[in-house]
Subunit: 235 residues, 2 copies
DNA sequence: GCAAAAGTGTTTCTACTACACCCATGG
DNA sequence: CCATGGGTGTAGTAGAAACACTTTTGC
């Protein structure tokens, strides 16, 4: 969004970045500050960008994430495009677009992606005047967000829910490299909105060929230490 | 694509229209004729269009279908966007774009939709110089298609397959209003790529609250007439 | 020794699979 | 009367759900 060649100012990508802190699902949002009537107004937006020349959609989403977090090899999945003409009806959004893009833009069609990242990996925001923070998913729904970003987050979550049945490995993108079964169960239950039985869940995990037990246990916990497990892609 | 106001020549919609003839899945494709080196070259493309001013993506897809078939209330579901810069690398496609759009266009990001229609409803192509035909899905994969439309069809089929588990009513969009259980089973098996047991399938149907038996049977069949059923949305 | 979470088996129920014969109709 | 597809029941199996107590550890 700086000195690069902008190919098409009518198409953008936006990323719904999910993380899991062990208890709740979180979303990564960018702080947006707008001067309005001599007052500074703050709200949040999804990380996103216009698409550059000769850049594939997936590549654009990937670039946004790398620029934002410094991380590579993040799980990314396109889930939907949003292009309603009333996406850009809020005067605040129009003002912001004109300031950052230096262009009058009627509306923007955005291609939305879901990204899953391990929340413990420290996020290093490259660009100093950009600030990103994690927010609990449930409080986000009540927050003031740019454009239709609230809608996009909702649809992104639904996408993850649906795809979990088909690609169960998605969960492990959100967990640390070594994890306990209760962490896995807690995450599983949060996204499925269930409350599964401890014993049945152990059996289920035992049958997953891609979850393998380590000879290690938790350390420095004020109770019996839980066994650690890791995820293995190709069995 | 004629005298309407084109808002954004960089974004289009394309529709993968599926039909079922009782035996096989079919796709609706537009015949495309291009004069090349004094020879007339014919290939096929998906029905699609540039997005008009103040038009929502869904509305654009819906318009394409209505213009093409004369039908309204068609099942439509957006499933993915395609925007790789090499989408428009084929010289034939570039030529065609310049002729029909009257514009030099680097590349187009397209938002792809799946549509399901009852093949028995007669398709009336409004525009006389447009011709649309049904093609068997398996022969389509070997055909010469415009842009990355072959890829789009493949992804569209996969989308339908995945979504059947979540929204089983999709199947009934492809069947006539009154249908027999073997028609339903035949369709079910085609999309699932299975070969299910007649008796077990009857039981399964009996448990579907949204499939209700009529007091009617087939007519003019050279064998025992099958009972007819209909689909009911809200039970 | 107590608080806090880890770990472990059995029974029940449900959903899916396999399987073979008689029925109705038109020609 | 025969060819064609329509329609029916039962037994076996595998996977999901319900359910309570003992173990380990830090403090």
């Amino acid at each position: 969004m700086s000195n690069k060649i902008i190919y098409n100012p009518h198409v953008s990508v936006d990323c719904v970045v999910f993380g899991f802190d062990g208890e709740k699902l979180k979303v990564l949002l960018i702080e947006r500050n707008i001067a309005e009537n001599n007052e500074l107004y703050n709200d949040k937006k999804l990380p996103g960008s216009i698409i550059l020349a000769d850049e594939d959609l997936d590549a654009a989403a990937s670039r946004v994430l790398t620029e934002l977090t410094g991380l590579k090899n993040i799980y990314l999945s396109q889930f939907r495009s949003f292009g309603g003409p009333d996406r850009t009806k809020n005067p605040r959004d129009i003002l912001w677009l004109e300031n950052t893009m230096q262009l009058k833009i009627g509306r923007i069609v955005t291609v939305a992606y879901v990204a899953l990242i391990k929340i413990n990996r420290k996020i290093q925001v490259k660009n100093d005047n950009t600030q990103a923070n994690w927010y609990n998913l449930n409080e986000v729904t009540a927050m003031n967000l740019a454009f239709d970003h609230g809608e996009i987050i909702k649809k992104g979550l639904a996408h993850i829910r649906h795809n979990l049945d088909i690609e169960p490995h998605l969960l492990f993108e959100l967990l640390p490299r070594k994890f306990t079964i209760s962490q896995l169960r807690s995450l599983y239950d949060t996204v499925h909105q269930t409350n599964s039985d401890v014993r049945n869940f152990q059996k289920k995990v035992a049958q997953m060929p891609y979850v393998i037990a380590l000879d290690e246990v938790e350390e420095r916990v004020p109770h019996r230490a839980a066994r650690l497990y890791k995820f293995k892609k190709n069995p």
